[in-house]
Symmetry: C2
Subunit: 248 residues, 2 copies
Amino acid sequence: MYNDLIPAFQIGGIVAAPKGNMSYRDIKKVVLDRIQNRIWGPDSLLPGEIELAEEFSSTRTTVNRALRELAEEGFLERKRKAGTRVLHSPARKAQFAIPLVRDEITDAGATYRYSLVKREVMPAPSWLTAKLALKPDREVLHLQCMHFADNEPFQLEKRWIIVESVPEVLEADFTASGPNDWLVQKVPFSNLELSFFATKADEDTAGFMDASVGDPIFATQRTTWLRGEPVTHAVLYFTPGYKMTTRL
Amino acid sequence: MYNDLIPAFQIGGIVAAPKGNMSYRDIKKVVLDRIQNRIWGPDSLLPGEIELAEEFSSTRTTVNRALRELAEEGFLERKRKAGTRVLHSPARKAQFAIPLVRDEITDAGATYRYSLVKREVMPAPSWLTAKLALKPDREVLHLQCMHFADNEPFQLEKRWIIVESVPEVLEADFTASGPNDWLVQKVPFSNLELSFFATKADEDTAGFMDASVGDPIFATQRTTWLRGEPVTHAVLYFTPGYKMTTRL
DNA sequence: ATTCTCTTTTTGTGTAGACAAAAAGGGGTC
DNA sequence: GACCCCTTTTTGTCTACACAAAAAGAGAAT
């Protein structure tokens, strides 16, 4: 019944601190275990760092690191003078890897292929001007690209790059590799907004993906700024049936 | 042009280390700034901790903490003996808050209302048995609940709870508050799988949400284990147009 | 009771030094 | 070259101590 999350020195469900010196990892495991087994229930106050250091025959520094990390992970809340408290809804935070499409595909063991569908320099469409708070009549480079996994359509990328923010982009060649690769190499980024939503395949999208008009499509949207200046906005449409998964 | 991400002691775009002692936060800012301004470009090797400690007139311990955290945040890769290297795709990790539905709604300033739609004790459907690797013929409690924001349908929750793993669940009353609240209070959790996908509103779902059959629906799926034993599986269907957003 | 100030507790962070552990690189052997 | 062993560099972690800073709580003044 007990699996690998339970520290090795637990016997019969009772958490015992081992005699020897414990690393901050060991301490994290014991504390997390006590939280999960309601020894320290929701909202309850943990002993102070010094007291815990004595129990684990460790030092305050080490206990501090263990508790600090558990707090970062969303299990505890710490306040000076008030002490350390167990949060009632644990793991409020999920961490997602946001890989490059190519990595996502090759990591899955499939062959990656890229194809540029459309390239167009144009005035910023009004929705983009509004969304990014652009000054009026900015020029943007609009690109549409397809990413294939084992020659099956995997992702349709629609991207807009603000020319004023990255003038060199007009000279870049996107026939062989995608704009993401180029941007990552060329532009230091500073700020990112990421969102997920569901949409319907329109005729255009359905044509590129292996989809029928009206199919539900999982999509993500990314906007990137560099020191407050918008650089690029991209919408990524995934193949029907795509599921984004994480474990914690 | 330079905004708040740039440390205060930067002058004219050139990063200068101040004379006085720097905190690990200061060091993080300077290092991050150098990464973003390509002073330390992608794949380049940073100086060792001791050297940096001298530059910042700090100690290795403090520099270590700064670099360690930047590595956790996805900017750097550190390996013993090989040193610290700048990753080419920064911020590969996005952190998401996974709030309780109630919090999500009340935090947005709306009024939360809950309603139990269906409660049924049944043998585990075969897809669930397969998905969770259950022993055959387990009993599950199936629930369907609606969550409203300002009396508009916000989320439809379909949940299955493995009775064997949490026998007390049969006595719980879910007419006033949802199973999530109960589970969070009652069951220590240990392991979670979370996934996002797009689906179509079927007739049943469309009836509960303010949707038409065929509308694209953003949905999330959560499976929870306790020490290797599956506890509950839930699918949450959001109202059409819902967007999940994060910034980093 | 309210507001203010002061004290005190608790976590936050920095310093200095030590040893551990991973892993790259060198040198040798086959 | 391929393989193996040893050295050495670099990060990982622990200890012990110090002072800083937030914030709760007590007590005084109003």
